[in-house]
């Protein structure tokens, strides 16, 4: 699906590609498809293999979005990097706990904590 509007913001902090969401809700299937392809494109083009996805401002998340995170986790691991998640609202954190995906993902309270936990160098 083509769209002129990016649903994500990307910055590089040290050796980490930092991703933030532009939308409050990450529910809609078409939007998630767009997020999925944007994420994969940026990660494959990035000079670094470490990725932080910051959920600041995100209020809702569907299982389709969880699927995208799992795909991204596999891609990042394949590239020899780490994926970390941060700033997840307590209601959304509950979704990770119910699905037991809190065991798969490394989740930090804040972006600073997550950035500090990436391997140095």
């Amino acid at each position: 699906m083509a769209s002129d509007t990016s649903r994500l913001r990307f910055t590089v902090q040290g050796s980490v590609l930092v991703v933030e969401f532009a939308d409050r809700d990450v529910l809609d299937e078409a939007a998630i498809r767009q997020i999925n392809s944007e994420l994969i494109r940026q990660i494959e083009a990035a000079k670094t293999s470490n990725v932080l996805i910051c959920f600041n401002g995100v209020e809702h998340l569907s299982s389709a979005a969880l699927g995208t995170l799992i795909t991204v986790n596999s891609l990042v691991k394949k590239r020899g990097g780490q994926l970390r998640l941060s700033n997840i609202k307590s209601t959304i954190l509950e979704v990770f706990r119910i699905t037991k995906l809190d065991r798969l993902f490394q989740i930090s309270d804040s972006a600073d904590q997550a950035l500090a936990a990436f391997p140095k160098g």
Partner: protein, 143 residues
């Protein structure tokens, strides 16, 4: 949407694969929930369950056929909110859906919708061949 003498609000909507229609359904349900003073956690839970139920109905029920639709009906009262999500597919066996929380399934990107519905709703029933999902959120069960 209509209100009854018993104080419940009922409504129905037909949804195709359009995100705007699903958003319109979510807005109508949210308005009924707010009217009956459901809290923030209930609104979150019900929004997620409707999203998952309708997306499952479109994708797995109607096999994303744009000529097929999903019927959504709801009844919201002071102590519960009940929903029926009916697709035009051939149904499925809910018992055959693999447990996505098992270690061997944890990295599979799909298959968590029904689990989230069961986790957030107080009662979940499948009718007919499996193409009719009934889900009820009871207020006393809310965390």
């Amino acid at each position: 949407m209509s209100s009854s003498k018993t104080g419940s609000d009922t409504g129905s909507m037909t949804v195709s694969a359009s995100a705007d229609e699903l958003e319109s359904l979510q807005a109508s349900v949210a308005a009924a929930l707010v009217k009956h003073e459901f809290g923030e956690h209930a609104l979150f839970a019900i929004r997620l369950a409707i999203e998952e139920a309708v997306m499952n109905a479109i994708r797995h029920g109607n096999l994303s056929d744009p000529s097929k639709t999903v019927e959504a009906r709801w009844m919201v009262s002071a102590d519960s909110a009940a929903f029926h999500i009916i697709d035009q597919g051939e149904g499925f066996d809910p018992g055959a859906v693999p447990d996505p929380t098992l270690d061997e399934n944890l990295e599979i990107p799909s298959g968590r919708g029904l689990m989230l519905i069961r986790a957030y709703m107080s009662e979940v029933r499948h009718h007919g061949s499996g193409n009719h999902l009934e889900m009820i959120f009871r207020r006393e069960a809310a965390a």
